[in-house]
């Protein structure tokens, strides 16, 4: 089970290794606090010191510290109860294995969804591609704060309003020139510094150091090979027939693709549709059991707007969730050591369940006939420098190849 969790968690999570992890332990309280020393502001553009014969001007440099805080949250994940007859050790083949994979997949999605939603909600500025509001620049300040179980600062009305601001047709799409524009605003207006070194993603060769990262759905990167600007200036060696656009965008913007069903998309009402849905297949049913297939939700795939995230250095920190601690990967590990190992988001098998005997009668699982997979996940996000992440709202192109960009 642990091996499966390692494999599938890594497969479905895109945000797992993006940010430095917080060294948070149990009994440290329910609030995470971080302290970030601040450079004093650069206060002039030119300097005019005194002559040597006069008394010099004095520069008193005082710097402050700022704090930021976040609250850890938790969530339960459970499978259905599995019927298990101990005398026969009987399970439907592959039942537990698959349920473990499925639960791990959902936990990976949950972690990504939580982290990204925090990054987006704490961001104090937003970029609207092709902003059509008179007098507004595409990079505007916006409401920011902690999203809770009850509400998020950036609510449906906010997203509907942002969608209405997005430019028409291709002017609203996040093409090559707009990506460069976001980078320019990030550097010159927001003063965001590039990645100063990150653990894990996108590779082990530190390719991200000194660059910005754009995290978005695949359509944004796929569109680059049809982008008029790219086509006008691409090197002759770039083969766009047998391969797509490749490499870093405009020198210092790397691209991280969201998992296909995980990009952040919303409709004209500011509602984020669920990415996948169960389709009822009419051809085969077994008694009262319906035949379902999980497919992309049309409301999601056709949502007109999406949110990409443009990031510089360490917008935040988060709690580690998922794959086992380091000793798990060592060449040899004793069984006793392994059995004591626990990690956040671990899926475990339990028989500590109540059994429903019908007619409102519940009793303990004293015959040990039922088992269940459960996982308790604790997540946390600390907005270290929230402005270093800029949500970018743009108009989607479902098939960029059919709509060449400007």
């Amino acid at each position: 089970m642990a091996t499966q969790q390692v494999k599938y968690y890594e497969h479905y999570s895109r945000w797992k290794n993006k940010y430095p992890k917080m060294d948070w332990k149990p009994n440290m309280g329910d609030t995470l606090v971080g302290i970030v020393p601040q450079y004093s502001p650069k206060s002039r553009q030119y300097a005019t010191p005194q002559n040597l014969t006069a008394q010099g001007n004095r520069n008193v440099v005082s710097n402050y510290e700022r704090n930021n805080s976040g609250r850890p949250k938790h969530e339960y994940f459970e499978s259905f109860q599995f019927n298990w007859v101990p005398s026969f050790a009987d399970f439907r083949t592959g039942q537990i294995n698959f349920a473990n994979k499925d639960l791990t997949r959902q936990i990976a999605f949950f972690y990504d969804d939580f982290t990204r939603w925090n990054v987006v909600n704490y961001a104090p500025n937003i970029y609207i591609v092709g902003n059509n509001t008179a007098g507004e620049s595409p990079y505007i300040p916006c409401v920011a704060g902690e999203p809770t179980a009850a509400s998020s600062p950036k609510d449906a009305a906010f997203w509907a309003a942002m969608g209405a601001k997005v430019g028409p047709d291709r002017a609203g799409f996040l093409d090559f020139r707009n990506i460069c524009a976001v980078r320019d605003y990030a550097e010159t207006v927001a003063g965001i510094i590039p990645w100063g070194g990150m653990p894990g993603k996108p590779g082990e060769n530190a390719i991200q150091r000194g660059k910005f990262m754009l995290t978005a759905e695949s359509g944004v990167y796929n569109a680059l090979q049809f982008d008029t600007h790219v086509l006008n200036v691409k090197p002759l060696a770039m083969n766009l027939l047998n391969s797509g656009f490749a490499g870093v965008i405009s020198d210092n913007v790397t691209f991280l693709q969201e998992w296909q069903g995980s990009a952040l998309r919303f409709d004209v009402d500011g509602v984020f549709p669920q990415p996948e849905i169960e389709v009822e297949l009419a051809d085969i049913t077994y008694g009262t059991t319906y035949n379902y297939e999980t497919q992309p939700n049309p409301s999601y795939t056709q949502a007109p707007y999406a949110v990409a995230v443009f990031e510089g250095d360490e917008a935040g920190q988060d709690l580690p969730v998922g794959p086992p601690p380091a000793p798990f990967n060592q060449a040899s590990i004793s069984t006793s050591k392994f059995n004591k190992m626990r990690w956040n988001g671990e899926v475990i098998l339990t028989d500590d369940v109540l059994v429903n005997y019908g007619s409102g009668v519940y009793d303990s699982n004293k015959y040990a006939e039922y088992v269940q997979l459960i996982s308790h996940v604790t997540v946390g996000y600390l907005p270290k420098t929230a402005r270093n992440a800029i949500p970018v709202v743009y108009r989607r192109l479902l098939a960029p190849s059919l709509a060449a960009t400007v």
Binding site: P124, P141, V143, A160, A161, G163, P168, D169, A399
Partner: protein, 166 residues
């Protein structure tokens, strides 16, 4: 020659079917909003004919309203900042009261009222009297997120070919 034309027409229609393209045409009344599409689409080709006999201003909007060229942007919370002086006063170890004034940007939030704005224009042209206008190839296809409406000064007719859903 006629057979050749039929062959070409058949080939065109079959290709259209392959790419899921739909062709739609009709008339546009003067000074009224006409809803052409109510879902997201990619407009592959578009032709406008003037039937008023006078130069005719034609505007296509990214909108799905049958009666208006406007969209309602809902009320939302926005953020801003203003310059202010933050004065900190403390007593130093020597017993002297020290006052520091920092000029800072102070952030605040405010409510932006709902507003009715003109929907995004995706194509605007003036069709000559009894003339025809087609956007140049470089600006096609036109993408619409909400739908497609058109408003003209005089009467006109149109023909569009589109691929549904972006």
């Amino acid at each position: 020659m006629n057979k050749l034309f039929v062959l070409f027409a058949a080939a065109f229609l079959s290709l259209s079917a392959v790419f899921g393209q739909v062709t739609k045409s009709g008339t546009i009344s003067a000074a009224t909003t006409t809803l052409l599409l109510s879902t997201p689409a990619s407009i592959v080709s578009l032709t406008v004919y003037d039937t008023s006999g006078a130069a005719n201003a034609v505007v296509f909007y990214d909108n799905n309203s049958a009666s208006s060229t406007n969209i309602v942007r809902p009320s939302y919370t926005a953020a801003g900042s203003y310059l202010t002086n933050r004065v900190s006063t403390y007593t130093a170890s020597t017993g002297v009261s020290v006052s520091l004034t920092n000029t800072v940007l102070y952030p605040y939030t405010y409510t932006v009222a709902a507003a009715t704005n003109e929907a995004n224009r995706v194509f605007y042209t003036i069709v000559p009297a009894s003339g025809i206008v087609t956007p140049d190839d470089a600006s096609m296809p036109l993408g619409v997120s909400r739908g497609l409406t058109v408003r003209t000064v005089g009467t006109a007719s149109y023909s569009i070919t589109y691929v549904p859903q972006l």
